[in-house]
Symmetry: C2
Subunit: 338 residues, 2 copies
């Protein structure tokens, strides 16, 4: 039984590992699949060495099967299919009396701040588990975590049926936001420059615009009868995305910052004044977003399989990180861990 350890300096070491009995309050999972997130690529590149304890298994987009149940755990049994909401609390969740428990100070992200899931066997607190329907394929189930991100984002953006939604950036998260918005009854346009992503979006029946070939503002004006978009999701994390973001909303339109900006970009605050725009930050998810994501995945109406570009085993993780870093035509890569 193997564990893939991030060993620093763009290297992954796969080592033998003997599964341990779960501690009280924990379960031991056999990890079925674990997806590669942009954050994992960041870690691979050494950008988050201040948070990761090297050598450490990383990875947090998982599906798995319960192999052993620790003392004091109820509601879960051996053989249950589950996914993990990878937020670990330093103290009891109920101690936080305010909004935003999922992002309160001191919350630890499993797979970054604590060991992650690129391993055969993973012991996790039972209060991070969400049960999966047994009939949901375990590869698709590994997309529940990024799908929960998208569900959280559109909840923060308060997307409603009939609204005009624009998603800036059509990578896996942008695609999922587009799909969940469409499922909620919105009209969706995705702005993306990568031809491979544009092709996949087209196959999904999502309208797209390539900002290298067309004026996104003019396209949105045209689609919305001059009114502007109700909700804009900024998923690029770059200045060009922020520049166009404030041009697209209608009066009192909403924007959601999903991309992560290591440096503060310039933001046209005059537009905030002029149109009373609203900007919402969104980070990870809350329990209800996992519930929504699992229900959506189980419903089977989203073309989630189109987001999976490649499956590798644990010993293919190093190569997968390298291929993603080269900018290969890859959306989600799943690592088969057992």
């Amino acid at each position: 039984m193997q564990t893939a350890l991030y060993a620093g300096n763009k290297s992954i070491n796969v080592v033998e590992h003997t599964p341990e009995a779960p501690a009280p309050g924990e379960v031991r999972l056999r990890v079925a699949y674990c997806g590669i997130c942009g954050t994992d690529v960041h870690i691979f590149h050494g950008k988050m060495d201040a948070r990761v304890k090297i050598p450490q298994p990383i990875g947090h987009e998982i599906s798995g099967v319960i192999e052993a149940v620790g003392e004091g755990v109820s509601g879960f049994a051996e053989g249950d299919h589950v996914t993990v909401r990878p937020l670990a609390y330093a103290d009891k969740e109920e101690n936080w009396k305010r909004e935003g428990s999922h992002i309160r100070p001191g919350v630890k992200f499993m797979g970054i701040d604590t060991p992650g899931a690129y391993q055969y066997s993973w012991n996790v607190p039972a209060n991070t588990l969400h049960k999966l329907p047994q009939e949901l394929p375990l590869d698709i189930a590994a997309l529940v975590e990024p799908l929960a991100v998208a569900c959280h984002d559109i909840r923060i953006g308060k997307v409603k049926a009939g609204e005009q939604v624009v998603v800036l950036g059509g990578g896996p998260i942008g695609m999922l936001i587009a799909l969940v918005s469409r499922e909620a009854g919105a009209e969706v346009l995705v702005s993306e420059i990568n031809p491979f992503r544009l092709k996949v979006l087209g196959e999904m029946g999502i309208d797209t615009v390539n900002p290298k070939e067309a004026d996104v503002e003019a396209v949105v004006k045209e689609r919305t009868g001059g009114i502007g978009a109700d909700v804009v999701f900024e998923v690029t994390g770059v200045q060009a995305g922020v520049d166009v973001m404030t041009k697209l909303p209608c009066v009192r339109g909403r924007m959601v910052v999903v991309g992560i900006f290591s440096e503060p970009p310039k933001v046209d605050l005059f537009q905030f004044f002029w149109k009373e725009l609203q900007l919402f930050g969104a980070r990870v998810y809350e329990a209800e977003d996992f519930d929504t994501a699992i229900a959506l995945a189980a419903k089977g109406t989203l073309p989630l399989e189109k987001i999976v570009s490649l499956k590798v085993e644990l010993d293919g993780l190093q190569g997968a990180f390298e291929e993603i870093s080269r900018g290969g035509n890859l959306l989600k890569v799943l690592v088969k861990c057992s």
Copy 2:
């Protein structure tokens, strides 16, 4: 009877003017007082010549008395004390089916896009009027318009009793936001560098911090038990204000952009992600904000008289603009127009 005309190039010409009969749907006001707004100072400096038709009377913070009622106007009579919500609609207000009627495309701001109130007599559409209690002094009543701005801002910021509010910038609008927030039951701190403004705020019993002398973030942390502010109002309109703005809110804290940014500042969007911050643009007011402002002014609990630094007549307007431009110790200057 006189009119003060903005004649371009930092000059005001006071000329004789014969009052005209109100057109159908209009009333003729005898203007009692008209306050000087930062926007008027901008116009005086030639910054808004693209919108102002020179020569033109400007000014929009008014109190007045109805002198004549035009055909088809009901609900108003000669002798009524009124203020004006200076938004003129190109078409009927009810044609706009969406949110934000007050800022929809095509709305004209009276005193900028159309003639304003620095004159003895002003004809205005009756649908812009709000009746004032006769017992409210007409000088204080000229503060209803900026007070409505503050009421709108704290409504956009959803300020609630018991919340921690920080106002960045303690000029007249920042002061009014602070006073209305305190009236709503919030704990208020104002950040301001000008000693005169700090003194007036102190006299009003508002807590202050001078960012040249103390670390605003540390002060807010201390006041809020480490949690951060519930609502931050950015009223400085400068980069330094934006820099501190994103450091102050609690998890899911709200920020309101009140300052006007002619150039896009850098905004720390990482903090939006990390704490799920929310940023709301606010522009002018809606009818209900005038209703709230009039009720507040009539209640008499706000120390509004402390915001009035100087009263001049129409022929003192040029000098008042020059004194404000020199950065004199002035808060609100009222122009006695009749």
